[in-house]
Every structure is written in structure tokens, then in C-alpha cells.
């Protein structure tokens, strides 16, 4: 053994005797110790110390059955382990040579020991098997319960997922409805502002109000009134009792300035015969000479028709 090799082995011997070496390292140390007296002595000294460590655990009585099973096992085994040290001088032959020359066993004693030993071992093994079977059954039952719980949770999860989808759809619909309502509110507010502005315009002290004259083409109950302010472009017309224009025709508002006829817009009459028309003319109303409402063909825009419904000089 080389000195360096011994030095290396000496370092490993404490862990070796503690059983803390990996298998290959332990085998290497064991092989070295076999052939190296110096390392073997070192190992034995440590082994004596390690052999004391179990006393640190104290002492506890194993159950009596352990001893019983051990000696039943010993009694049951036909022990043929070779003894390497000198046997005692006490005869150990368990066989008797019969007169007929055959070896026989003291059958009864051996059989009895065998039966007792095997019976005890079987009883103990059965008890352990029963305990394990009970534990297995318990575990299987617990596993089954867990599987049921998992299935239940999955079912609940599926239902929750479906409900979530419905809720998402409803939420989207609610959002759309909300957007629509907001738009309607905006339109109403705009209309309200317009109405407020209209009322303000009509009620203003500088506003001039005049009735428009009707022609024979106007229904008897039809009337129209206009509102305007000097120097202002805005013209408001309130028309009552006018029938809706027949298909292909429309009521159009015209302003006349000298020989020029300017189409201002289309007057839409509601089913109640009322029309509200607000327009900002290209110039202040003072610039115009005449206002009239005619019943025109839909596709004509250049000149007013001959069918004048309302008219007034400005």
C-alpha cells in the first residue's frame, strides 16, 4: 500500500465505519483495509467508538413477539450454516442411526417445533396482512371519495363556466344598450337645446313675427307664421294644418331677392300637419324681398313651381 493511498483511505475511514460512504468508495476502503494493517487498526479503533453510538438512543423493549418469531424461525430452519470456529465438544448430532441403518430424525420433536414455529409465523403474518388489507381498503375508499369530489368540482366548474359565458353575453348586451341609451340621451339633449334656442329666439324682444298668406292651393285650415330678427340670418317658420306632400312632391321654402329665387330647404310636415322649420339664410333676412313655400316636384330644384302654398313680402 502506498503512503499516499493510505493517507487517502485514512481520510475516508471515519465515514466508512459510520456507513456514510457511497458504495464504490466503501468497497475501495474495505478492500484496502483487508490488506493494510495500519488502516485496519485505525478502522477498528473508530469502529469501537461507533459501536458505542447506539447507547445514545437509550433502550426500549421490543414486543415479546419479536423474540418469539426469531426463535421460532431458528427452530424451524434446518440450520446448516457452516461454523468456521471450533465447535464445542458437545455432540450436536441430531440424527440417530437406526438398527436398519437408516438415519431418522426425532420426528415428533422436530415436527412439533416446526408446527409451532410455522403456526406462529403464519399467525403473525396473517395479522400483518390483515392490517395491510385494512389500510389498503381505507386508502381505496379515500381515493374513491377524492375522485367523487374531483368529479363534483369539475361539474361545478363547468356550470360556473357556462354561467360566466351567459353573464359575459348579457354584459355585452347591456353595454350595447347603454351605448344606445347614451346616444338617445345625447340626441334628446341636442333637440332640447335646439328647442330652447328656438324658444329663446321666438321670445326675444327683437324678434319680428309675421303670418304668411295662404293661396287657394292651401288647405282651408292651413296657416304659417315666421319669426325673424333684423340683421339676423335666422328664419323660423311654424306651419299648421298642412297635409303631407303627396308622393313625388315636397314642400320647399324659397327666399326671393330681386329676380333671384333661392331654395332654402325642404319643409317636412308631420302627420299632425305641423311643420317646424328653422334655417339660417345665406344673408340677413333684411336682404330678401319675399318668402314663399311651394309644392314642387321632388327632382326639381332650379325654380319654384307654380303651386305656391304660402307667401309673404319681407
Amino acid at each position: 500500500m502506498t503512503l499516499s493511498n493510505c493517507d487517502e483511505i485514512l481520510e475516508l475511514i471515519p465515514a466508512f465505519v459510520l456507513g456514510a460512504l457511497d458504495a464504490d468508495e466503501a468497497a475501495r476502503v474495505a478492500a484496502h483495509i483487508t490488506n493494510c494493517p495500519r488502516c485496519r487498526v485505525e478502522a477498528e479503533s473508530f469502529r469501537d467508538v461507533v459501536g458505542l453510538l447506539p447507547y445514545a438512543s437509550g433502550a426500549l423493549n421490543p414486543p415479546p413477539r419479536v423474540k418469539r418469531q426469531l426463535f421460532a424461525r431458528i427452530a424451524a430452519a434446518n440450520d446448516d450454516a457452516p461454523a468456521e470456529i471450533t465447535l464445542s465438544s458437545r455432540p450436536t448430532a441430531a440424527l440417530r442411526f437406526t438398527r436398519s441403518g437408516r438415519w431418522v430424525m426425532p420426528a415428533f420433536a422436530v415436527m412439533l417445533a416446526l408446527i409451532i414455529g410455522l403456526g406462529t409465523a403464519v399467525f403473525e403474518a396473517r395479522g400483518r396482512a390483515d392490517r395491510l388489507a385494512a389500510q389498503l381498503a381505507f386508502n381505496q375508499q379515500a381515493l374513491h371519495s377524492m375522485e367523487l369530489q374531483i368529479a363534483e368540482v369539475r361539474q361545478t366548474a363547468t356550470a360556473v363556466e357556462a354561467q360566466l359565458l351567459v353573464s359575459v353575453r348579457e354584459l355585452d348586451e347591456a353595454r350595447l344598450q347603454l351605448a344606445k341609451s347614451q346616444q338617445e340621451i345625447q340626441e334628446l339633449r341636442t333637440s332640447e337645446r335646439q328647442d330652447e334656442q328656438l324658444v329663446s329666439f321666438i321670445a326675444a324682444p327683437q324678434t319680428v313675427s309675421r303670418s304668411l298668406g295662404t293661396t287657394e292651393r292651401a288647405p282651408n285650415e292651413a296657416s304659417a307664421r315666421m319669426f325673424m330678427q333684423p340683421g339676423h340670418n335666422r328664419l323660423v317658420l311654424m306651419i299648421y294644418g298642412l297635409k303631407s306632400a303627396e308622393p313625388g312632391k315636397m314642400y320647399r321654402l324659397w327666399l326671393a331677392k330681386g329676380n333671384q329665387q333661392i331654395a332654402i330647404g325642404v319643409v317636412t310636415v308631420g302627420p299632425d300637419g305641423v311643420a317646424e322649420f328653422v334655417v339660417d339664410a345665406p344673408e340677413p333676412m333684411d336682404a330678401y324681398d319675399q318668402v314663399m313655400i311651394t309644392l314642387d316636384e321632388v327632382d326639381t330644384t332650379a325654380q319654384p313651381s307654380e303651386e305656391v302654398i304660402f307667401e309673404a313680402n319681407l
Partner: protein, 200 residues
């Protein structure tokens, strides 16, 4: 100091008789050391049923291998404890490589001395004295060395596993292991207590 020279002779005489297939000799060894084996196995494995198996298997192997025990090359008790320790380590490593699904009863029993109705008063006193001496020696080695000793001997961890557990270099673990056992050996020697005096 409890000198037990007669008991020391008894141990070697007993093992010789065990080798001659004298089961009564084995029974005496069993009565003398099974309690220590059981307590150690229970401490290492934490399972009473496994500890019982260790006890039975240990003394079965003592019965089977008694002839291989070299008289004069160590103590009988140390040899018996070594068999038990190796069996426990094998079981620990088997558990680590294949964790058990069905948990048996895990019992954490206090490591206390239990009086044995069958053992005599002298034997019980010897056990207590030995335990006191060993615990006293263990208390005098530095904590980091004692920890390594605990993990190696009672937890069955290899040095590489200890290094991983403690997040220490393996060289440090090797050094602490060696120093721990050297210290234990020196302490026992300085107290003029040899292994011969403690073992039977």
C-alpha cells in the same frame, strides 16, 4: 466505572456457543442487546414495525454469521450493532429511492430508558451508565461535528448527501466527520474509558 470483565468474557463465549448452534446463547445475547438495537432502529426509521423487523433480522444474522465473527478483532456488541445499523441504512436508502405510498404508523417514541422486566438490575444499570458516558462525550464535540455524526449514523446519509443537506462543501463534511470521531475517541480515551470497558 463499571468494569464488566466477566461480562466481556461472556459475550465472546456466548458468540462462540452461538456458532455451535446454541440458541440459548443467542437468547442471552438477545436479552442483553435487543433493547439497544430496537431503540436505535426506532430512532433511525421512526416506525415500530420496521424496527421490530430490524431486531429480528439482526439477531437472525447473528445466528447465521456467528462463525464469521473474529474474536479479538472488535467487540461482540459493536458487531451486533453494526449489523443492525447496516440493515437500517439499507432500509433508509430503500425508502428514499422508492417512497412508500401507504403510510404505516409513524411513531416518534421518546428515546428513554425502559426498564426491562426480564433483565436484571445490573444490566439495566450498565445500560444507563453507558448511555450517560456516550451522551457526555457527544455533548463535548462541537455542534457542527455532532450534526454531521447524527446525519451520518442516525439518518443514514452519505457524505455527499450530508454536504447537499447542509449546503457545505463535501471536503468540509469529510473533515468534520473525521474530527468528530477522533474527538469521541480521544474523549473516551482521556476518561480512561476504553471500548473494552464499555462493552461486555
Amino acid at each position: 466505572m463499571l468494569a464488566a470483565d466477566s461480562s466481556a468474557l461472556d459475550d465472546e463465549a456466548l458468540i462462540t456457543r452461538v456458532a455451535s448452534r446454541d440458541s440459548s446463547a443467542l437468547e442471552q445475547l438477545y436479552d442483553r442487546y435487543a433493547r439497544i438495537v430496537y431503540a436505535t432502529a426506532l430512532r433511525m426509521l421512526g416506525n415500530a414495525e420496521l424496527a421490530e423487523d430490524i431486531v429480528q433480522e439482526t439477531f437472525w444474522r447473528v445466528w447465521r454469521r456467528s462463525a464469521s465473527f473474529a474474536i479479538g478483532r472488535g467487540q461482540v456488541a459493536g458487531w451486533i450493532f453494526g449489523i443492525a445499523h447496516n440493515l437500517c441504512i439499507d432500509e433508509l436508502r430503500r425508502q428514499r429511492s422508492r417512497p412508500m405510498i401507504v403510510q404505516g404508523e409513524q411513531e416518534e417514541q421518546a428515546m428513554i430508558d425502559q426498564p426491562d422486566a426480564q433483565s436484571d438490575v445490573v444490566s439495566a444499570a450498565i445500560e444507563r451508565e453507558r448511555r450517560r458516558i456516550i451522551l457526555q462525550a457527544l455533548a463535548q464535540i462541537p455542534p457542527e461535528q455532532r450534526e454531521v455524526l447524527e446525519l451520518a449514523y442516525f439518518r443514514g446519509l452519505s457524505q455527499s448527501e450530508i454536504a447537499q443537506r447542509l449546503n457545505s462543501p463535501i471536503g468540509t463534511v469529510k473533515t468534520r466527520t473525521r474530527l468528530a470521531l477522533q474527538k469521541m475517541r480521544d474523549l473516551l480515551h482521556n476518561q480512561k474509558i476504553g471500548a473494552d470497558d464499555l462493552h461486555d
